[in-house]
């Protein structure tokens, strides 16, 4: 069967690439989406929610040789949109050039200004709620910002340029989706308020140009002389099918993308290497005489001051956010609102010792031997560094709680760059060695910025599609 475009995966990277293609003047006429997981509508997931762990698939579908570091993702139609929390910050302009500005990590082959219009377009599709931010923007957010809590307001006043209401795809007002009511179980929003591929891109199922096959596991991408010819997949019934396509886009995730490339014999020096994600820290703060948790969604305040610090040349930068979980209510009647939960996310950089590899088994092999020394330097001081930033609050105590084992942001295994020796794809997300093979998603990030990656994944896919 011949297709104009074959897209592997149906998460953000794939579906925003699809959106970008459909928006082109000469949009493709036959598109195939191959999804490894099932088609599991929201109501079905809700019905069996007791059995759904948002990390369930990661232990079953990979061989994790360093299990102390879990990797979480969702294998199903919609991919990560099923289990994400809906946070959609942009990466700050300096996050694209940490090498130039701070002398650490590496610069992206694309800058903020190039991506800006695609950020705006992605925010429109995701119907992001947001207000004033430090991001240079060409258009306001589609929905107003979520309400901040009292501690957030104090920090906002103290750092007007660096502290703001987190832009999010959890609706602040009724829109195409219901208004978020702060239930805090965003990994499977009971009222379907956060954007998912299912609720935000319903047209896919009605569009006669698009065909989706579910429960189909990609075996390999066939290729010859710098051209990707097609995709072989094992179907649900165990049969094998071959689909040929003019353009092939790999949008699984940062574990499965390099694995599919490697098992297809598409090897470049960096494929699968540099696996990383942010280092995460949870911090508990006890406040004196201040109400808390009034923010209108689960995470509201977003602090990025550290990302402008000159210290970033010596250690990784970090951002932090505040959490409004009702279950953080305190049993002490004198201070029921006193607990403030803060999560800090620390940027990380690629290291070749952390990698995805391919062997004879039917699963990717994962090795992760720790974050970079820059990230660890920041991690060791995180209580003190956050403490300095939240000094404007009436603090009774501040205490590091725990290292978060995962931020659920798998990145950097198929980085973009200038040359095939140091990267896998070019700045248009096209594989260096192929004229018609696109590698999409957060695997393309050359560095793991502290911001949540989803919006940048979407913008990059729109940019890639626009430049075909």
């Amino acid at each position: 069967m011949q297709y104009d475009v074959i897209i592997i995966g149906s998460g953000f990277a794939s579906m925003f690439f699809l959106q970008g293609l459909l928006d082109k003047k000469n949009s493709p006429k036959r598109i195939l989406i191959i999804e490894k997981g099932a088609n599991e509508p929201h109501f079905e997931r809700l019905a069996k929610r007791r059995f759904i762990q948002w990390s369930e698939t990661s232990t079953q579908t990979i061989t994790n040789n360093t299990p102390e570091k879990p990797w979480t993702y969702s294998i199903a139609y919609g991919g990560g949109s099923n289990c994400w929390f809906g946070s959609t910050p942009r990466i700050l302009p300096n996050g694209f050039k940490t090498k130039t500005d701070f002398g650490i990590g590496q610069d992206w082959p694309i800058d903020y200004n190039t991506l800006e219009q695609y950020y705006t377009k992605a925010e429109g599709i995701l119907e992001v709620s947001g207000g004033e931010t430090p991001y240079p923007k060409s258009a306001p957010y589609p929905l107003p910002a979520h309400r901040l809590s009292e501690p957030d307001e104090i920090l906002r006043e103290a750092y007007p340029e660096y502290y703001f209401s987190l832009p999010t795809a959890r609706a602040s007002r009724p829109s195409k989706r219901p208004q978020c009511c702060g239930n805090g179980v965003c990994f499977l929003c009971p009222i379907d308020s956060k954007f998912t591929i299912e609720n935000g891109m319903r047209y896919v199922r009605d569009d006669s140009r698009i065909e989706v096959v579910y429960n189909a596991s990609v075996k390999n991408i066939s290729h010859s002389q710098g051209i990707a010819n097609g995709v072989s997949a094992t179907m649900k019934d165990g049969s094998e099918k071959y689909f040929s396509g003019d353009i092939i886009a790999l949008g699984a995730n940062a574990i499965f993308n390099p694995w599919i490339l490697l098992k297809s014999g598409i090897k470049t020096p960096q494929t699968g290497k540099g696996l990383c994600e942010q280092a995460g820290a949870a911090i508990n703060v006890k406040l004196k005489g201040l109400k808390n948790k009034q923010g209108s969604t689960v995470t509201t305040g977003w602090g990025v001051k550290d990302l402008f610090s000159n210290d970033r040349s010596q250690r990784s930068g970090f951002m932090f956010n505040t959490v409004n979980r009702p279950m953080n209510i305190q049993l002490d009647p004198n201070s029921p609102f006193s607990h403030l939960e803060i999560i800090a996310s620390i940027e990380d950089f690629r290291q070749e010792r952390n990698k995805v590899t391919f062997d004879d088994s039917d699963k990717p092999q994962i090795e992760f031997h720790g974050h970079s020394e820059f990230a660890e330097k920041t991690f060791k001081r995180i209580e003190e560094l956050v403490g300095e930033l939240i000094e404007p609050l009436p603090i009774e105590s501040i205490k590091f709680s725990h290292r978060r084992t995962t931020e659920s942001h798998i990145q950097c295994t198929t980085p973009m760059g200038e040359s095939p020796d140091s990267s896998v794809a070019d700045k248009y997300c096209k594989h260096h060695n192929f004229s018609n093979l696109y590698v999409l998603g957060s695997g393309n990030f050359p560095t793991a910025s502290p911001e949540n990656p989803t919006l940048t994944i979407c913008a990059l896919s729109l940019y890639a599609a626009d430049n075909i």
């Binding site: 009511c181 702060g182 239930n183 179980v185 009702p326 279950m327 049993l331 009647p333």
Partner: protein, 134 residues
């Protein structure tokens, strides 16, 4: 057996028994045994226990009992469930405590069982803030 040997054997046996009894499997077994042999505590008893753990709050038995009944029904639990901090927090969130300014001296009224799954848009903190805004 001389006295020294007797003491050594006794200490070893005591140590082994202590380890066995504190292991999670042993604790689980004892818990099961207790539940099989003893009658389950009444709902009233559980309500009293809840009230005693929140002594600084003004809670009448009817509200506590409503919570216990809801908790058992909605979680398919028996009255053997442990009233820990998590349960106490769910209880406070199930009342009008937060909406009414978190005044512990005021009598708490029942609202609804707090569960983001059963009542996704019942968030007392946000409702309290919305009430202030209006």
């Amino acid at each position: 057996m001389n006295r020294r040997n007797f003491l050594a054997a006794f200490s070893t046996a005591f140590l082994l028994a202590a380890i066995a009894l504190t292991s999670s499997r042993a604790r689980k077994f004892l818990r099961k045994l207790k539940r099989a042999v003893l009658p389950a505590p009444s709902k009233h008893k559980k309500a009293e226990e809840l009230i005693s753990k929140l002594q600084d709050f003004n809670i009448n038995e009817e509200v506590a009992l409503t919570f216990i009944e809801n908790h058992i029904k909605l979680n398919q639990a028996s009255t053997w469930f442990k009233i820990d901090d998590k349960i106490l927090k769910i209880f406070l969130l199930s009342t009008d405590y937060i909406q009414n300014g978190a005044d512990a001296s005021r009598k708490l009224n029942w609202v609804t069982y707090y569960s983001p799954w059963l009542a996704p848009c019942y968030n007392p903190f946000i409702l309290a803030q919305n009430a202030l805004a209006n």
